[in-house]
């Protein structure tokens, strides 16, 4: 128990001060029926060495691709420079609480302010918050903002939004009197928005969407606005924003999503970091922490948490949201990452993603077909000649982590699979994939395709 520095003498001194004799006396007055009265039934404690070995053993039971991973589906592996981990390992960032005392928290506060600024820059929005739990929660919170702002009962949700996010939305709104209408995708893989009813609070898109296709955000936003609805754009990989017209530039009202691709490792899905940004007029509806600029008693420029009247610790049941702890350290990683890559580096990463995906499309082996012709960023939906789940098993044997099989979420694309390409893959891994895909086509399918092509 090296974390507890109390020696027996220390314990004695502390107990005596409270007029007690033994540690058990500290709990003597608890009702007998709630006292545990036995040891917890847990594995015995381990020394640090044995503990580390144990965890190493568990980690080793997980399989990492050796010849390339082409799995995206909401979690994107970009290169994160070594400095990012140095920054988030720094004691004063890692082991500080939410910056309630600005006098001894300027480091955290200024970093949040910088994060907010960079998210605004990326999304083309006016204001951003300090983070929420993840991309799905950011998206859902945006929908709640729209519902509260417009006081209308309907939300149109593109089927191009990540299936997990759509599920979370349903979970969250189960208790509310709200209609969640799915909007189908067209032949081109883009959201096919019909008439928007007047009682619509918001139209929710994801860009690029879950099938990899880039949406016509401007057109969809205009349609939403036409019906007095807000346009919300969810972004699962903000690296795309280096190349794609920003939600703000497309006229959207709220941009939200996942910032984890900006500097965090895949981490088996968490902790990630949801970001939210909006146009000026919705600023006071943003949930979560906001850092603002001000001055201190001597007139120095300083930062502090602000507009706290929106928050739970002040407003309790009337707060804009219940969020308290957010994903601070992950947002710090994002801030460090963006500062390191800068506009140039982010663009290069994005361009490599795009170029790899385009190269993949061009070299797609016979037997495989593109599901859509529309422009894509770094994910490409493909119709496979065999069951994608089975295909992935074969790829796994060759050290490759395949794409995301669509069948479970999109029954209409039973043999569909979305492959993802990022700058960490490189041309060599793309070749590995293409070679294996080709080798794994049943002869019949390839021949058939060859004859057709």
């Amino acid at each position: 128990m090296n974390y507890i520095p109390h020696t027996p003498q220390d314990q004695q001194k502390m107990l005596e001060a409270a007029g007690l004799k033994t540690p058990a006396d500290l709990f003597g007055y608890l009702p007998e029926e709630v006292k545990l009265g036995r040891d917890l039934d847990l594995a015995p404690g381990l020394t640090e060495h044995d503990l580390f070995r144990h965890l190493e053993g568990l980690a080793r039971k997980n399989v990492l691709a050796t010849r390339g991973s082409f799995l995206g589906a909401g979690a994107y592996h970009h290169y994160s420079p070594a400095v990012v981990d140095t920054v988030i390992s720094r004691s004063e960032f890692l082991t500080a609480y939410t910056p309630y005392q600005p006098e001894v928290s300027q480091g955290t506060l200024q970093a949040i302010f910088e994060f907010q600024t960079m998210i605004c820059e990326l999304t083309g929005m006016d204001a951003a918050n300090a983070s929420v739990y993840d991309g799905s929660n950011a998206t859902v919170e945006s929908v709640l903002m729209a519902l509260n702002t417009t006081n209308k009962p309907r939300v149109l949700i593109s089927r191009g939004v990540h299936p997990h996010t759509r599920e979370v939305l349903k979970t969250y709104l189960a208790a509310h009197d709200v209609h969640l209408d799915d909007v189908a995708l067209g032949e081109d893989g883009r959201t096919k928005l019909g008439d928007v009813p007047e009682d619509t609070a918001a139209v929710l898109l994801q860009n690029p969407n879950f099938l990899g296709v880039i949406e016509d955000v401007t057109a969809l936003t205009e349609k939403a606005h036409g019906a007095g609805a807000l346009s919300i754009v969810s972004v699962q990989d903000p690296v795309s924003l280096a190349l794609l017209k920003s939600p703000g530039a497309c006229g959207a009202d709220i941009a939200a999503g996942e910032a984890a691709p900006l500097g965090l490792p895949p981490s088996y899905g968490g902790p990630y970091v949801g970001f939210m940004a909006c146009k000026k007029q919705f600023l006071r509806r943003l949930p979560g922490r906001l850092a603002g600029m001000t001055v201190d008693s001597s007139g120095k420029r300083v930062f502090c948490l602000t507009l706290q009247a929106r928050e739970q610790h002040i407003r309790r049941e009337k707060a804009a949201s219940n969020i308290c702890t957010n994903q601070g350290l992950c947002a710090l990683a994002v801030t460090a990452y963006l500062a390191l890559v800068g506009p140039q580096g982010l663009r290069e990463a994005a361009l490599t993603c795009l170029s790899l995906a385009e190269a993949f499309k061009k070299k797609l082996p016979a037997g495989y077909k593109l599901l859509f012709k529309s422009p894509t960023f770094h994910e490409v939906a493909v119709e496979c000649p065999v069951d994608p789940v089975e295909l992935n098993k074969k790829l796994a044997e060759r050290g490759i982590l395949g794409g995301y099989p669509l069948g479970a979420d999109y029954p209409e694309f039973k043999n569909g699979m979305v492959f993802c390409f990022t700058e960490v893959n490189g041309a060599a891994e793309l070749d590995n994939l293409l070679g294996d895909l080709k080798a794994l086509v049943p002869a019949a399918a390839a021949a058939q395709e060859g004859a057709r092509g």
Binding site: E103, A130, A174, H313, R347
Partner: protein, 482 residues
């Protein structure tokens, strides 16, 4: 010398860069040709700095922070205990950190085993029957559990619209209840710091879905009538919800399940030592008893003859987040639990309660002590008399403590105590540190009023003008912003 650091944007210079992403030998396309008018015209105005400049910027920013690693941090309700460094190492193992959340289950057996074991450990620690690891923080867990309660009553055909909380409850409790669609009913605390039983009885009826209770309460007190409270709530068919933010006091000593709680959340970023990171990330797993287990968000980690799997509870309310949880936070918490074992966890609780009572005894005569009894892991002082007599407020005491190198306690919470100072030493501080902190508090109680009300004096910056920040919010950097 001005110790403050310019923003990244003020340090930016066109053409600098701190990272070159890999190019991977791929021939680059012309984005305009591929994307047409979907292409972005203006690059985002991100700052441009060299690698050392970025690193140094953040190192210097960090120097402006207090943290557990450098300062005693008795921030009540936040359990700012030591965040073990071995947890940081295990969370960085490639087999965890590089794992993709959508990998097929056969490729993630280690992760599933860890999650499965952690679920079981948390069940045993709380006396619950099942856990979800999805919620990302305490408030997220509260909301999750309330949605479960709502679904549970919906299935039972009961229309229950109310959630009851004590006036000492944390702000997230009523906020979560409201978000989950409930009406919030607040009841007062009685003179000894427990729930006012008569008032509770008065509000309990068939419309009440849930009573949310923190035990020990945010006053740092064990709710002595807990068995009676549970009986009363259950008698009207309601559920009892355990806000586990203060579970540190009871590890291995008493379990919410044995007290009659039906739903709990734990704050792994408090009790289980995962670092707060200047605001997060956390993890707020939710546990349930009996029939409620079926309502847990899915997928949950399960075990079959062939290994580990994900499965969906039969009446699951569905996902509350993408993927499976704040996994690397879970790795840290699991590491922490396995380090301690049953014996160690009980010692954690004993140590935390011992330390809090020790500091309490050393300082109580110098402040008001609204509820003067044996406390649990924290206690709440009041500067009421001090304010009335000398004009020194709780906030002034808090700021003055910064000058002594100690982080401030939580102030003005719980709301039911005027001029509250909420002090949680945790079990990981040496006796000498507790002594020095208590001495500083006593000293401040006697210090010159002006010195205290104008504090802090030794911090990188003085008190921030928060009114100005709120009046005309500047939330992002812009040329000429200040």
């Amino acid at each position: 010398m001005d110790r403050l650091e310019p923003t990244l944007f003020e340090k930016s210079s066109p053409g600098r860069r701190g990272c070159t992403p890999p190019t991977g030998g791929v021939a680059l396309v012309d984005p305009k040709a591929v994307l047409g008018d979907l292409v972005r015209e203006e690059p985002p105005a991100l700052p441009e700095l060299g690698e050392l400049q970025v690193l140094r910027h953040f190192m210097r920013l960090s120097q402006l922070n207090f943290s557990i690693d450098t300062n005693f941090y008795p921030l009540g309700s936040c359990t700012m205990k030591y965040n073990p460094r071995v947890n940081e190492q295990t969370a960085r193992l490639a087999g965890f950190a590089r794992l993709h959340p959508m990998q097929p289950v056969e490729a993630v057996q280690g992760a599933l085993e860890l999650m499965y074991d952690l679920q079981n450990d948390l069940q045993e620690i709380t006396g619950m029957d099942g856990f979800t690891l999805q919620p990302a923080a305490g408030a997220h867990g509260e909301f999750t559990a309330l949605l479960m309660a709502a679904a549970y009553f919906r299935d039972k055909g009961e229309k229950r619209t109310k959630v009851v909380v004590p006036d000492s409850s944390h702000g997230t409790n009523p906020a979560s209840a409201a978000l989950a669609g409930f009406e919030v009913v607040t009841i007062p605390t009685n003179p000894v710091g427990d729930v006012d039983l008569e008032q509770l009885k008065a509000v309990l009826n068939e419309e009440v879905a849930c009573l949310m209770l923190t035990n020990p309460s945010t006053l740092g007190l064990f709710e002595q009538q807990i068995v009676e409270v549970a009986r009363l709530v259950h008698d009207v068919g309601g559920l009892l919800y355990y806000d586990g933010a203060n579970m540190n006091a009871l590890l291995g000593v008493a379990r919410p399940g044995d007290m009659g709680f039906d739903l709990v959340h734990l704050n792994l970023h408090k009790t289980m030592s995962t670092p707060h990171g200047g605001g997060g990330p956390g993890a707020g797993p939710v546990g349930a008893r009996g029939a409620l287990v079926d309502y847990l968000p899915g997928p949950r980690a399960g075990k079959t003859r062939d290994g580990f799997e994900f499965y969906q509870p039969s009446k699951s309310i569905g996902r509350v987040r993408m993927f499976w949880g704040n996994f690397l936070v879970l790795v840290r918490a699991y590491t922490y639990i396995r380090y301690h074992g049953p014996d160690g966890l009980r010692q954690v609780a004993e140590g935390a309660v011992m330390a809090a009572n020790y500091v309490r005894m050393k300082v109580k005569e110098y402040f008001d002590m609204p509820y003067d009894r044996l406390c649990m892991h924290e206690f709440v002082l009041s500067a009421k008399t001090m304010k009335e007599k000398k004009g020194v407020r709780a906030m002034d005491v808090a700021k003055r403590l910064l000058d002594y190198g100690f982080h401030a306690p939580t102030v003005y919470f719980p709301l039911c105590v005027e001029e509250a100072l909420m002090i949680e030493p945790t079990e990981t501080e040496a006796l000498e540190t507790l002594d020095a902190f208590a001495e500083a508090l006593v000293k401040i109680a006697h210090e010159d009023v002006g010195l205290v009300t104008s504090a802090p004096h030794n911090t990188p910056v003085g008190r921030a003008d928060e009114a100005r920040a709120a009046r005309k919010p500047v939330l992002r950097w812009e040329e000429g912003a200040q």
